[in-house]
């Protein structure tokens, strides 16, 4: 009895001729380790590429954003090449196996990974369509900050409070998105100062203009002019400066510099802030100048 069962087991396990409908994908421990090694190398290569491109972007200061733009492209190329290599060289998939692989992959995507795939596709769309780039200042879903990374899965922003916000690429594409500089090194900064209605508004405009154009952060050219605007409200006036910083990372230091020096000069010339409680801090509308 025992001999019979051993023989039956031998026949089953040793049979090379057992008919099966499942194609042999040739996956064994060697190929898995090889694939993992390729992915690890791709990860290291991507980190090195990011490090070198970031260092280069700071050296060629005036082309910082342009160089940083290439970071996500480099990452997609490296990971894309790694996946191609794994499929082609490590697993050496034939046409039949590829069909089987995509069949399984399709089922997996359908059941559980569709969001991940949508994020990856979203990342590719962001890199190609460029609604924003690494280094841009954007507002996505109420979060404002500098784009630090466009990853395979998510975009990372650093807010002015130094919080790291991750937004999935798919979500970022589906949101209404505001990009403050759109790939440019310079960025417009709007500075509002509110003064009492009885104060000399013309002089306030002159002072704000001087404070803006003498700032160490300002950048002025034909395409990047300085504009000073005045708006009258029932009990106060708003003096607004619209000017560009030469490095968008200086947005807040620029605002502070201009505001501080302008208010020092306002005080010296008797220009007063509005009386308490009259300013509506609700913010301007989108068509507000």
């Amino acid at each position: 009895m025992a001999d019979n069962s051993v023989a039956a087991y031998s026949n089953l396990s040793g049979s090379a001729n057992v008919p099966s409908n499942i194609p042999d994908l040739g996956i064994n421990s060697y190929t898995v380790i090889n694939a993992l090694l390729v992915l690890a190398l791709a990860y290291v290569a991507a980190r090195i590429a990011v490090f070198l491109l970031t260092a280069l972007s700071e050296r060629v200061y005036e082309h910082r954003i342009t160089v940083k733009m290439t970071i996500p492209i480099a990452k997609f190329i490296i990971y894309g090449f790694a996946l191609y290599h794994i499929a082609g060289s490590v697993f050496q998939l034939s046409a039949v196996q590829l069909v089987a692989f995509w069949g399984i992959a399709g089922a997996a995507i359908g059941f559980g990974l569709k969001d991940r795939v949508a994020e990856i596709v979203g990342g590719i769309v962001i890199v190609l369509d460029k609604p924003y780039q690494v280094g841009d200042k954007v507002t996505i879903e109420d979060y404002y900050g500098e784009v630090r990374d466009i990853g395979i899965r998510a975009t990372r922003l650093v807010t002015p409070d130094d919080n790291l916000v991750s937004v999935s690429n798919q979500q970022a594409l589906n949101q209404i998105l505001a990009n403050a500089n759109a790939g440019s090194q310079e960025m417009m900064v709007v500075i509002d100062l509110f003064i009492d209605s009885s104060s000399d508004a013309s002089r306030a405009m002159e002072i704000l203009r001087d404070a803006t154009v003498t700032s160490r952060y300002v950048y002025i050219s034909d395409k990047r002019p300085v504009t000073i605007l005045l708006k009258d409200y029932p009990f106060y006036r708003r003096v607004r400066s619209k000017a560009y910083v030469y490095d968008l990372r200086d947005e807040f230091p620029f605002e502070t510099d201009v505001t501080k020096r302008a208010w020092d000069a306002f005080e010296a010339e008797g220009i007063e802030p509005p009386k308490a409680g009259v300013v509506d801090l609700g913010g301007g509308s989108a068509i507000d100048s």
Partner: protein, 329 residues
């Protein structure tokens, strides 16, 4: 010797002739510091001595009355950029001057620092007030050579070869390190750096040039074609009758934003009083004296009493640094 400023002089002559015929076009002569614009103005003044008045803008800051009382029909205003200060209210004197230009029937020939000109052109639209503009051009290697050797006979000077030791030891590829935090540990990651100066030095050696050719090419490069800088470096190299090729490339500048801004203020004036630096920097919470001392320590400015001046040999690297930071446009 080829006389300098021939093109500029012929344009100025044309502007003066046109003025004589009733067509007034105020002229701006724009240059980096040390270009020798005073020498050019000496020659212009020599041509129109009887009908001109020459004045430094410094004396116009308080009042323009001095011009109203003077008899000349042509006014030469030197260092016109000194009429503005980079502070709130610092454009008043400049605006008064520009308004006067609009209503005056005199011809104004003015000299400007190029950094200040570009800044003021964007802020005040200077270009509209000066229909004629001349930028003093860089000198080429041959022109610098001709200028500096004009007082010597051929063969009078002996050009010594540069000290090869240190240059040859320089490697083209160097390794630099950058510290990076990884899983709570600080790691120094090495990365390769190409030494451009070393490549240039190797190429110079392989071309088998004579010592004087090597000297003047290097002089033109380091001075960036600026005659004033070239002359200063020449004086340092000349140990009559020998000329030592000990010219060194200016070091790269490593300054903070505030220090760079202070340097841009000195550069845009050529030289600036410490009191003026204080007016600009104190509202920012920066000590002008400390920054001036630091810039002097780095070899970028020299302080003589109460005045900080750009050092000629640092001009090229300072300009490159400030343009890169977009503090000079």
């Amino acid at each position: 010797m080829t006389p300098r400023f021939e093109e500029e002089i012929s344009l100025i002559k044309k502007v003066i002739v046109d003025f004589g015929e009733g067509r007034r076009s105020n002229l701006a002569i724009i240059s980096d510091p040390f270009y020798g614009e005073s020498e050019l103005m000496d020659r212009v003044e020599g041509m129109i001595e009887d009908v001109c008045i020459r004045i430094n803008a410094q004396s116009l800051i308080q009042s323009l009355e001095i011009l109203k009382d003077s008899p000349g029909k042509i006014v030469i205003v030197e260092e016109a950029h000194r009429l503005y200060r980079r502070t709130i209210g610092g454009f008043d004197a400049m605006n008064r001057f520009l308004n006067m230009l609009l209503f005056s029937d005199r011809l104004f020939i003015t000299t400007w620092n190029s950094a200040s000109w570009r800044y003021l052109d964007e802020v005040l639209g200077l270009g509209r007030h000066f229909p004629q503009k001349v930028s003093l051009s860089k000198m080429k290697t041959d022109e610098i050579r001709e200028m500096l050797l004009s007082g010597y006979e051929e063969g009078e000077l002996t050009f010594l070869e540069g000290e090869r030791g240190d240059e040859e030891k320089r490697k083209i590829l160097k390794w630099a390190g950058r510290k990076k935090a990884l899983m709570g540990h600080s790691l120094e990651i090495p990365y390769p750096m190409v030494d451009v100066g070393s490549i240039r030095s190797h190429l110079d050696r392989s071309e088998k040039k004579s010592p004087d050719e090597v000297f003047f090419e290097k002089l033109a490069r380091i001075s960036d074609g600026n005659p004033g800088v070239a002359e200063l470096l020449w004086k340092e190299a000349l140990d009559y009758p020998e000329v030592r090729n000990a010219l060194k490339d200016p070091p790269s500048i490593d300054l903070s934003r505030e220090e760079s801004f202070a340097l841009s203020i000195v550069l845009s004036m050529g030289s600036a009083k410490l009191a003026y630096l204080s007016d600009v920097l104190e509202p920012l919470g920066i000590s002008a004296q400390n920054i001036a001392n630091l810039l002097e320590e780095r070899g970028l400015v020299s302080i003589d009493g109460e005045v900080a001046s750009m050092r000629a040999e640092a001009l090229k690297s300072a300009l490159e640094h400030l343009r890169r930071l977009r503090l000079v446009w």
